[in-house]
């Protein structure tokens, strides 16, 4: 199997270089072998937040004569660019960990791209297994109308397929659309072969199907327009720095956000008076006026700045049960507007750093913390940089994030205050994350030898001793005229 993968990878290299970590290269003429059929499939589309979540629960059957362990899931190239956090697991057995999920790179010309899901054990011929595969789409909506008044309701449109995209034939399937509202002015209607019309509407849910047997690759374009008078928050870039200090017994966090509101633009100029008046009766608004960051308990010294400087409209509620940082942006953020800002805080090292039996250290921090909003937050590019003490070595790290979300990892050097050789810096880049991944762990183990620990005071000691010696030496120089 390994040698086959090697040959496939070699052929794939001819088609084009693999760029991300969790990528498998296959020949340019690749097509998923027809070895499975979907016996029963439930497609759940959730458009309750600023991002869309799709999940398919599928009972797959191996229809080939040999055991199979690779299940392929098709997406369009446009979807792949906006897709993130794809995970697959056994629907009926939680003990089986997440399955391997890799992006297949085979031909950049093809509009259909695939994710390969590797089952933990090959599925025998004729056997069945229930898979739960979920993923997120960023930038999934477009507002209609595209511009609204500052006190008007906002409506969004989401395009999807009623038939779940599959590389295999599907015998039976249904689609469920979950929303956060019952106000759904427009949605695609579907009449099946028996003349029954779908969807069935149950509160804020729409149920389509069951559908008849569909061939591999079948799609049925559908659209839904729904009320979403909430901010559509998109963080295009998040830079998160975590700085470990052994001397200070502290771990410092700093996060720099580039935040956009992707909802409907304002149809008129922003009216500050109207906005101030509306705050007395607090109506539903599409503007972003507050962000809540539940930090880890024990967090202290928070700050909140933007391009102008300190932003004083923030509150920090800290107790034994919570550490809630509540921010009000300098201005309400309406559709099409941008708000870049920075926050930071400290925590005692004892909360997140432990000594190992072998004399090293192990650090455990959330990969992203970020705001916890009812409407959800999506992240385009995330860069987490962990600065370990100077001289740290033997670095290992692990994160609970889906492998497919990690784009790049590197270990380098970063120089800052009182550094001579520089601190060991771990940089992990991820893309297309959502706030459902808040508090997924990042664990780092490292060793700091005594020489590395003492490096800073030793450098200052040597420098000062040189100053004293120079003072003595300069005093020995006779600059006056000799009396002899």
């Amino acid at each position: 199997m390994k040698s086959l993968s090697f040959v496939a990878a070699l052929l794939g290299l001819l088609a084009g270089p693999c760029s991300a970590l969790s990528v498998v290269c296959l020949p340019a003429e690749f097509k998923p072998p027809p070895v499975f059929k979907n016996t029963n499939l439930v497609h759940v589309v959730s458009v309750e937040k600023s991002f869309a979540r799709e999940q398919i629960n599928v009972l797959v059957e191996n229809v080939s004569g040999e055991p199979q362990d690779e299940y392929f899931l098709p997406f369009t190239a446009e979807q792949i660019a906006r897709l993130g956090g794809i995970e697959a697991k056994d629907r009926k057995d939680d003990k089986v960990g997440p399955f391997g999920v890799d992006l297949v790179e085979y031909s950049s010309q093809s509009d259909v791209q695939y994710y390969r899901i590797t089952l933990p054990a090959p599925l025998k011929a004729g056997a069945q297994q229930t898979l739960a595969i979920s993923w997120y789409y960023l930038k999934p909506y477009r507002p209609l109308p595209a511009s609204i008044g500052q006190d008007e309701q906002q409506f969004l449109i989401y395009d999807f397929s009623l038939y779940a995209a599959s590389a295999y034939p599907t015998l039976k399937q249904k689609t469920e659309v979950k929303l956060s509202t019952v106000t759904i002015p427009d949605y695609t209607k579907y009449t099946n072969s028996e003349g029954k019309e779908f969807p069935e509407k149950h509160g804020s849910k729409l149920l389509y199907g069951p559908f008849d047997e569909q061939p591999a690759g079948a799609v049925y374009p559908a659209q839904i327009r729904f009320e979403f008078t909430k901010p559509v928050i998109h963080v295009s870039e998040l830079e998160r720095d975590i700085e470990v200090s052994h001397w200070g017994g502290n771990v410092a966090f700093e996060e720099r956000y580039t935040l956009y509101h992707r909802g409907a633009n304002l149809s008129t100029l922003f009216n500050r008076v109207k906005w101030a008046q509306s705050q007395y009766y607090n109506p539903a608004t599409s503007a972003l006026k507050e962000l809540k960051f539940p930090l880890q308990i024990g967090s202290v010294d928070p700050y909140f700045t933007d391009a102008i400087g300190n932003v004083s409209t923030s509150r920090f509620r800290s107790s034994k049960r919570e550490a809630m940082l509540e921010l009000k942006p300098r201005y309400p953020v309406f559709g099409g507007w941008k708000y870049p800002f920075t926050i930071g805080w400290n925590t005692n090292a004892a909360n997140v750093l432990r000594n190992t039996a072998s004399g090293g250290h192990v650090l455990k921090v959330p990969f992203i913390e970020g705001p916890k909003q009812v409407e959800g937050v999506e992240y385009g590019d995330v860069t987490v940089r962990v600065l370990l003490p100077e001289g740290s070595e033997n670095v290992k790290f692990y994160t609970d994030l889906p492998n497919s979300s990690i784009v790049e990892t590197s270990v380098g050097i970063h120089k800052t205050y009182l550094d001579t050789t520089g601190r060991t810096a771990i940089v992990i880049k991820a893309k297309n994350l959502v706030d459902d991944f808040r508090f997924r762990d990042l664990i780092i183990s490292y060793d700091t030898p005594l020489a590395g620990t003492l490096q800073k005071p030793l450098v200052i000691f040597g420098s000062m001793l040189a100053v004293y010696a120079a003072a003595w030496a300069v005093g020995k120089v006779e600059v006056g005229f000799s009396s002899k």
């Binding site: 700085e243 200090s245 052994h246 001397w247 200070g248 017994g249 502290n250 410092a252 010294d301 400290n346 005692n348 090292a349 004892a350 909360n351 750093l353 432990r354 000594n355 190992t356 039996a357 250290h361 192990v362 455990k364 290992k396 790290f397 692990y398 994160t399 492998n403 990892t409 800052t416 205050y417 009182l418 550094d419 762990d441 664990i443 780092i444 183990s445 800073k456 005071p457 030793l458 200052i460 000691f461 040597g462 000062m464 001793l465 004293y468 010696a469 003072a471 003595w472 005093g475």
Partner: protein
């Protein structure tokens, strides 16, 4: 990526990292060390000799070294 690190973290549950000097003591220790180093430097200035470089310069340099590191931490620049 090393998934065994979860076990490493669990195994180290009983030994949180504690610094040699707690946050609440950093300023006073840094202040005392830097004041001491200033005083020793004053004495050294009165009698600059090779012996003084060793007898006074070394302890003063040590006090400045650790005093500087802790003063950085005490003012919020956790080095």
């Amino acid at each position: 990526m090393d998934s065994s690190l979860h076990q490493v973290w669990q195994a180290a549950a009983g030994s949180p990292f504690l610094p040699a000097v707690g946050k609440e003591s950093q300023f006073i220790i840094a202040f005392v060390l830097l004041t001491l180093s200033l005083a020793i430097t004053g004495v050294f200035a009165l009698n600059r000799s090779l012996v003084s470089v060793i007898a006074l310069g070394v302890p003063a340099s040590l006090a400045i070294a650790f005093g500087t590191v802790y003063m950085f931490c005490a003012v919020g620049v956790y080095v």
